[in-house]
Symmetry: C2
Subunit: 356 residues, 2 copies
């Protein structure tokens, strides 16, 4: 029996509670949130972080707070107090993964973050196994449900961007201010996490170039459709001899590519290695059930003592963005195809799209 | 350091040797095969099963012999001698999984079979985790590279069946006699393994109905193309309150479904659960590198003591095939669409295809 304390009782937190309540392996003993949640939570609610962290009965902390400052405090204290930590928080994981993993090692507990990338898709596991026997060349991921939902509605249903954003907000897929999703910032964090696991290196989010879909318009979509392609916002990670490349950028994808079938709030990742030739995983990338599922995957592994074969993250490296290939550059009413553009050429355009 | 003995030095065995040779965690100490392989194997070759099984230096046996009789002898003896066993052999796993898992438990060793279904795709792991927190409703899998290759060449390139089979044989994807693949027998075994892991029940291969693609012809393909669909041979497993259903049968799939993008020798599986909504995994289903990759996944988990959360297989059950839905029945020159057909109606047709 594993006693769980849950931090954050929002959408994901509620899903985690549901799954814990129906599983005999786990027992939810406290929930940290604001005083206003007392009606829903009754005596489970505790509004002091330290009261939970110092509770000897708590075996595992599940962190669903989001953001970095409070989460960082909770995760660090929990690990130092000998609690396992499971988190769905890509922001804090992308910034502090090295520290979290080394604290977990020092205090002999588990730090798990399957839910931080790709929703319910099991990703951290296959990657952390594969890097031990294979050479991973490239990871391409559609890792943001919000932007993918908006792109799908614009391309498949001819919606304009504003309506697609409104619909995404109505369905709970988009924040009030969806900029971080549309600009690719969310995928910067997720790309960072995947690249760190494989390379065992620390990477700064700020170093990862991202080209989003904020400026997409119906003319651009028409042009790409005319080429028989679909636009998807992709995190492209390349592990090369001369360095690690991460770029977040719209791709024009052919219909034969499995990534083209990833629609709406779904996420998908393609992993290409020397021995493990392209493997593709597709699943719901966000929301209550997928994220709660990923957290349960971690909890079950902790309870059954199935450790991930993580390796320590060593030194920090600078990513070297690889911009080879053909890009379409949209600027005002002009469209230009450019081979191997410079970073400046890409940044100067209103919208860019890599041809696959 | 884990000392490995390899049984069977064919295509897959050679791939396993390559991966072991470049991995410092493992050491290949003996290979069982026929005397003729001496040139390639030198002093590694041992032609006596018992000599290897009784070798106290051997920690883990990798079985790549294929078939059931010799493999069954090797696996049983190895487990009883306290060796871990890793196998890619779906035939022997589908028949003896219950016995192998209980021997592994009794002798406190690992029995691993990731490579037996879906080539390099990590499948056994996510399923064995998911069944512990979620209710799995359905698994749909394209699990046979040979039939998928032939269907792809016929549908995408307009090849006739005979030429597609010849090409598959040339490329090493099809046996001299491809009947077991075309009739769906290979997918019976793989479906059995996946269903057993989730249901924890023993199932007889003979009870699983299968409708293959032996009688497919260009007229049928034209008809399905006209409907805007693609034919794929699918293992459909449904976990229902009133029983377990497994049917192997051609499906007519829409282009939006990720399964429609699985081409040539690729495999793919879609898992649908209550919390984990459709997850799709796509990867190369057969051949040297994918199968060797799956074996390495198992070896690494054994070496790093990352057990699978298997559960004991309990009693035997009879599958109850669920034939609900609309099927196209082709017979001589006639085509009939039938809702919820009887088993006899399906068996009487020359070719059947479920509408998705």
């Amino acid at each position: 029996m594993n006693n769980i304390a849950l931090f954050g009782y929002g959408t994901v937190g509620k899903g985690v509670r549901e799954l814990i309540d129906r599983n005999p392996l786990f027992h939810l003993i406290s929930v940290f949130d604001r005083k206003e949640k007392e009606k829903e939570l009754g005596s489970l609610l505790i509004t002091s972080i330290d009261e939970i962290i110092n509770d000897k009965e708590v075996d595992t902390v599940v962190e669903c707070l989001g953001g970095d400052s409070l989460s960082y405090e909770v995760i660090k204290k929990a690990l130092k107090n000998g609690k396992n930590v499971v988190t769905s928080n890509k922001e804090t994981v992308s910034i502090h993964l090295k520290e979290y993993l080394s604290l977990a090692e020092e205090y002999r507990v588990s730090f798990e973050f399957e839910a931080s990338v790709g929703g319910g898709i099991p990703l951290i596991y296959p990657l952390s196994i594969q890097k031990d026997f294979d050479e991973i060349y490239e990871i391409k991921g559609i890792l943001n449900g919000t932007s993918n939902f908006i792109l799908t509605k614009m391309q498949d249903d001819g919606m304009n961007k504003e309506d697609a954003i409104l619909l995404a907000q109505e369905k709970g897929f988009a924040e009030k201010d969806p900029t971080a999703d549309l600009e690719g910032l969310d995928m910067v964090r997720k790309g960072n996490i995947l690249a760190s696991i494989v390379s065992k290196k620390e990477i700064d989010n700020i170093d990862i170039p991202h080209f989003g879909i904020s400026n997409i318009n119906p003319q651009i979509i028409k042009e790409i459709l005319r080429l028989g392609k679909t636009i998807k916002l992709v995190t492209d990670i390349k592990f090369q001899n001369d360095g690690l490349s991460i770029v977040i950028c719209p791709f024009a994808i052919s219909p034969e590519n499995p990534l083209s079938t990833i629609k709406n709030e779904y996420n998908g990742v393609m992993i290409d290695g020397e021995y493990q030739e392209p493997l593709t995983f597709i699943g719901k990338g966000a929301g209550k059930n997928p994220t709660a599922s990923a957290i349960l995957q971690d909890l079950i592994r902790i309870e059954k003592k199935i450790p991930y074969p993580y390796q320590k993250i060593t030194e920090k490296i600078k990513v070297k963005p690889d911009l080879k290939g053909t890009y379409l550059l949209f600027k005002a009413d002009t469209l230009k195809a450019v081979n191997n553009p410079t970073f400046k050429q890409l940044k100067d355009a209103d919208f860019i799209c890599k041809m696959e």
